[in-house]
């Protein structure tokens, strides 16, 4: 770092200059915030990717890449601010990031999205709880501190002949260092960790079911149709009983997820382990069929597949269906 940079000079003068003390404290404060904010995101990349996805701002394909790179950038910028290394670049990135975070919150508030901020923790629970207004206030405060550092860094008036030389050029060059390091670290750590995520994420509902199981257990519609027509599979409707009664795949059994423990022994009596079971529910985002498949696999049924958006697709294609109580 250039010795004449105002932030560096602020350190040296901080003992006697109130502005210098404020700059130093601001740096340490923001640095600490950034380091703290990065920790949980680095530890839990899948959860953080989910939070980034929930913002509905990035194209799906970029969600995973940003989730891998951003926490490391936060960590490096935080460390730079605390240690006073590559400061102009760190201040620039810090402002840029906080501006993006703040704008994203404002944008989502305007859209009526009350989402989990994911700013400091990616876990769902009371600790991550908060309201958008609170997030906005908090991030607004951080941004104010960052803007103060920014002006102190790039627009400070010359004092005692000490003025940072060509701050913009230096800042841009220095900003590249943590950004590139963050990309490399993000990619490298993702490669070596056991819970790595694919670089180009697929966030479609189908892919989310696959993510939950660790492998693709969806059955293509045409294959499911053939299995029904040839009697090669047992269809299980995972929806609540009243929806099943309104209409279901012909011959399908009813096993509402909510009644799994009460109903399972009555529904699947003497079914061999390797029997093909196809679970389905209704709607693109319905999770009952995937949850039911998971439960069936847990108790030893090996050949369980999920017909994605099953009942909707079945109705659209006008395939054999019926209404009423389960048979038998």
């Amino acid at each position: 770092m250039t010795k004449s940079h105002p932030l560096f000079v602020a350190d040296q003068r901080s003992q006697r200059n109130p502005t210098g003390i404020t700059i130093l404290l601001s740096r340490l404060f923001l640095g600490g915030i950034f380091v703290y904010a990065s920790y949980d995101k680095i530890i839990h990349p899948v959860s953080f990717a989910e939070i980034v996805y929930n913002y509905h701002i990035l194209p799906d394909v970029l969600v995973n890449l940003v989730s891998l790179f951003l926490p490391w950038l936060e960590l490096l910028v935080g460390l730079s601010l605390i240690l006073g290394v590559l400061l102009p670049g760190a201040v620039l990135i810090c402002n840029l990031l906080l501006l993006i975070f703040f704008s994203t919150l404002v944008f989502n508030m305007a859209r009526g999205l009350d989402i989990d901020c994911g700013c400091f923790t990616v876990s769902i629970g009371p600790s991550s709880g908060g309201h958008m207004l609170w997030y906005l206030f908090r991030d607004g405060f951080f941004l104010l501190v960052a803007v103060f550092l920014f002006f102190s860094s790039f627009f400070a008036k010359s004092q005692r002949g000490l003025r940072f030389d060509r701050p913009w050029k230096t800042a841009f060059v220095q900003a590249l260092a943590p950004a590139l390091t963050a990309v490399l670290l993000g990619l490298f750590v993702n490669q070596v960790r056991s819970d790595s995520i694919p670089l180009l994420g697929d966030w479609s509902p189908e892919a989310r079911i696959t993510l939950k199981f660790g492998k693709n257990i969806l059955i293509p519609f045409e294959e499911a149709k053939d299995k029904l027509l040839t009697g090669g599979a047992i269809f299980i409707d995972a929806r609540p009983r009243e929806l099943y009664q309104e209409g279901h795949v012909q011959g399908a059994l009813s096993l509402p997820l909510a009644e799994f423990d009460q109903m399972i022994d009555k529904v699947l009596t003497d079914l061999p382990d390797d029997a093909l079971i196809i679970t389905y529910c209704d709607g693109e985002n319905c999770i009952l069929s995937a949850e039911l498949a998971l439960r069936l696999k847990e108790i030893g049924y090996e050949n369980v597949r999920v017909l994605y958006n099953g009942w909707d697709v079945w109705k659209i294609h006008q395939l054999p269906s019926e209404a009423g109580e389960p048979r038998g």
């Binding site: 009526g112 009350d114 509402p256 382990d273 030893g300």
Partner: protein, 228 residues
């Protein structure tokens, strides 16, 4: 001053261009006060309800043509007609039985808003079990060094005493079980022992009754696989 005038004018024009359709529209215009609601931590078995508020920012009546929940949530009620500049509500209910961990549900709202015909309301919760089972299901195999016993620990996650009583066992003659209380009203252990000599495959369960209304039954599965 002149330097600032051009970007300011351009920015204002851009904002106006964005806002103009909304200001001039004579159609119904749906807006949501909230599109995602997170219940955070809830207990399994709880029935969750939430009311979403909708606004009609247009100059024609907004017609909510259909509210379609995905499976395990149901729409309790919704306002089918929302007058210009008026407000409407959609109340939904979720049955959390059978779920565990972070979950999400979606409700589609179809309206006569020419631009936003289909909105998706998103509900989330982290569902905590009221009773935790460790070691279930129990697997027995015929391999030489595999254990002949299996243990399942039952732990109460609520601050009230748990009482469990065996109700049904489907593997008599193949497996035996014993029941012990590790911590009074809090933790129990069920030990299953496979009966020597029995090598046919089986899948069965021990059903336990509990005093928790949120989880009246517990099923402990026992699976025997000897043909592999």
């Amino acid at each position: 001053m002149k330097k600032k005038l051009i970007p300011t004018t351009l920015a204002s024009a851009f904002v106006l261009w964005l806002a103009l359709p909304a200001l001039c529209s004579a159609d119904p215009q749906m807006a949501l006060k909230q599109q995602i609601h997170d219940f955070k931590d809830v207990l399994e078995g709880e029935i969750l309800t939430h009311t979403f508020e909708l606004l009609n920012q247009g100059d024609e009546t907004l017609n909510i043509e259909q509210v379609k929940p995905d499976c395990s949530c149901s729409v309790v009620r919704f306002d089918p007609l929302i007058p210009p500049k008026g407000e409407g509500k959609i109340t939904v209910k979720i049955d959390t039985r059978g779920f565990e961990g972070p979950e999400r549900w979606a409700i589609k709202v179809f309206s006569n808003d020419p631009i936003w015909k289909e909105a998706v309301l998103d509900l989330r919760a982290n569902i905590r079990p009221v009773i935790t089972l460790t070691g279930s299901p129990v697997f027995f195999t015929g391999k030489k060094n595999d254990p002949t016993t299996g243990e399942v620990e039952i732990s109460a996650e609520l601050d009230k005493p748990l009482i469990v009583t065996p109700e049904q066992f489907t593997l008599s003659g193949k497996v035996t079980y014993s029941f012990s209380e590790i911590e009074k009203g809090k933790r129990y252990r069920v030990t299953f022992q496979k009966i020597a000599g029995k090598r046919e495959n089986y899948r069965g369960f021990l059903k336990l009754k509990t005093n928790f209304e949120e989880k009246p039954d517990i099923i402990l599965w026992i699976i025997g696989r000897f043909d592999r």
